[in-house]
């Protein structure tokens, strides 16, 4: 099984045995309540220098409240899993939280352009699917997974992937290195206090991110009773023993759409895009994050109950989202 080609980029060390040992020593097997504030979850479980994955994004059932809290707490030197992202990467880069990005996709603009040009941020190249596949490998406890895409691109040359000779077919096959992030933040519609979490609608890699990551923070629109979880176990997307913190975060995906719960806040979405495009993230942070103790305070000051209710009313679709 010869190695035919290898990417030249640094990548998070592949260490399935080390991850197993971490899981053995730190993942809670017992049913213990994990409900805490966004502030406590982020301060306890996100450390400077962490490899950081967020599922979905700031506009689409993503952990927007948790992203704002990461910025509020001024975390530094994060290595981002930058897949399927619109503004999340730009916001975190603009807020000075980021030193490295594994790129699947992020919304470009002056903020990232400048950070990369100045050498403040290094970018390594993948694709969205290759990143979710790396997370799947990590979620399976494996060192790598094969993939039929990515080979031959310049991304491959600037990644941690390898092209090898498949010992079964003799043909070339790309191997993507497993990814076991230090921390994952995920927003879901429903979770119980133990971390049994339900995602409704499509997703990106919530299950993979939760199982692959050392520390997992789940924010939820609703905290539901465990009895409800037990009444429909087929709806559980992430089991409790993968989860370290549960945050009750109504409108936790604002300004995005949270399927079955509320529509997106279009002016706020456009305002966020503009901040990235014009490298005005600091102004965005000054307005939406810095002045407030938490999102509840921010919603009161900048959005208001009436507007939030309008967003709820705008979400007319419930089929498939409300069991």
């Amino acid at each position: 099984m010869r190695i035919l080609a290898e990417g030249e980029a640094p990548y998070l060390a592949v260490d399935p045995d080390g991850f197993r040992a971490f899981v053995r020593d730190h993942k809670q097997r017992a049913l213990k309540p994990k409900l805490m504030s966004a502030h406590d979850a982020i301060s306890r479980f996100v450390a400077d220098g962490d490899y950081f994955v967020f599922d979905c994004n700031y506009f689409q059932r993503g952990p927007s409240t948790l992203v704002r809290e990461v910025i509020r707490q001024g975390k530094r030197d994060l290595w981002l899993c930058g897949k399927f992202s619109y503004v999340d990467v730009g916001l975190l880069v603009g807020a000075g939280c980021v030193s490295r990005i594994d790129c699947g996709f992020f919304w470009p603009g002056a903020t990232i352009d400048r950070a990369v040009a100045d050498g403040r941020v290094r970018v390594f190249e993948y694709s969205n699917v290759v990143m979710t596949l790396r997370l799947q490998a990590g979620a399976m406890g494996l060192p790598f997974l094969p993939v039929r895409s990515f080979g031959g691109t310049d991304g491959f040359r600037h990644s941690g992937a390898k092209l090898v000779e498949d010992p079964f077919t003799g043909q070339p096959i790309t191997l993507a290195p497993a990814l076991n992030p230090d921390v994952a933040i995920i927003h879901v519609q429903q979770a119980d206090v133990y971390g049994n979490a339900r995602v409704f609608g499509t997703g990106i890699a919530h299950q993979e991110s939760a199982l692959a990551s050392k520390k997992v923070i789940v924010s939820a629109e609703e905290i539901i009773d465990t009895e409800e979880i037990r009444r429909d176990p087929g709806r559980t997307s992430v089991p409790y023993y993968a989860v370290d913190a549960v945050v009750h975060a109504p409108f936790g995906a604002w300004p995005g759409n949270c399927g079955g719960y509320y529509g997106s806040d279009t002016p706020a979405v456009i305002e966020t895009f503009a901040a990235i495009a014009r490298d005005r993230v600091s102004e965005y942070v000054e307005k939406h994050v810095a002045p407030f103790a938490d999102d509840a305070a921010m919603f009161d000051a900048l959005v208001g109950q009436e507007r939030l209710e309008k967003l709820r009313a705008a979400e007319t679709i419930t089929e498939g989202y409300r069991p």
């Binding site: 689409q60 897949k83 470009p108 290759v130 039929r148 043909q171 499509t202 759409n257």
Partner: protein, 289 residues
Amino acid sequence: MSRGDGTVAAGTPASSFNEREMQICTVARMVEDERTYWVAGGGGPMYAVLLAIRLYAPGAQYITEDGVIAPEPLLPFEPVMTMVSSRAGYRALAWGTMNTAGNHAQLGLMDYGLLNTLQVDQHGNINSTAIGTYGERARRFGGPGGADSIAALCWRTVLMTDQEKRKFVERVDFISSPGFLDGTEGARERAGLPPGTGPHRVVTPWAMYDYTTDRRLRLAARAPWVTVEQILAECEYPPVVADEVGVLSGPTEEELQILRSELDPRGQNTGERSAWVVFDGETYTRAAG
């Protein structure tokens, strides 16, 4: 593809439209009925497939990167809410995740991939990562997103881009998503990509391109209001030109009616800055954009 090469449209020629609408209608006519499409999230590709399903290919099915399978979306979309969004995933036959989409395409279940891009080269390679010299002086863009998987795994890749000099180059500054790579026979297979896949068409507001048997971009058809010379003037690297360059039909009133009133009433994607064209029943005249 149904309606052959998209040069033929059904209905009444529209008297006034913009070139973005022209591009979307051209692609819509190329959509093959009862085939599967992996459509890049949002923009021209999604409007093209939705328009096709309404008018030309009612049995075409599509998936998106977030694992939406065969939806009947609730239109119009809110800005950027074209994936992991309740309206975009409405009435799907199944909901999955990104790895669902990747696996199904990897299995060969996706006939066509439909993409937008920043830059394309003579071998159909796609750049959405950086313009300039990567790692040195380059303008940074967003990366391949789902395009790399679409271009690698769907059987045929259809690309949408603008007809601008800097977009048609000899070799892209960065191969974000694979075309025919260096253009040699078997280059994709040597890179581990599945055989029988690759670039199929490129569509701009002015032109449609296919590929020669030796995997080079070829100008196949033009919009009625531009000449081959005008198109070539907007290609930094000149494509091969077909012996007979076809002429694309302009949009029809029926197409525009659906596009403007049902699919994109706010003109979010179809109203983009792009030149307007008027048709007096005999000739098309372009008003500079």
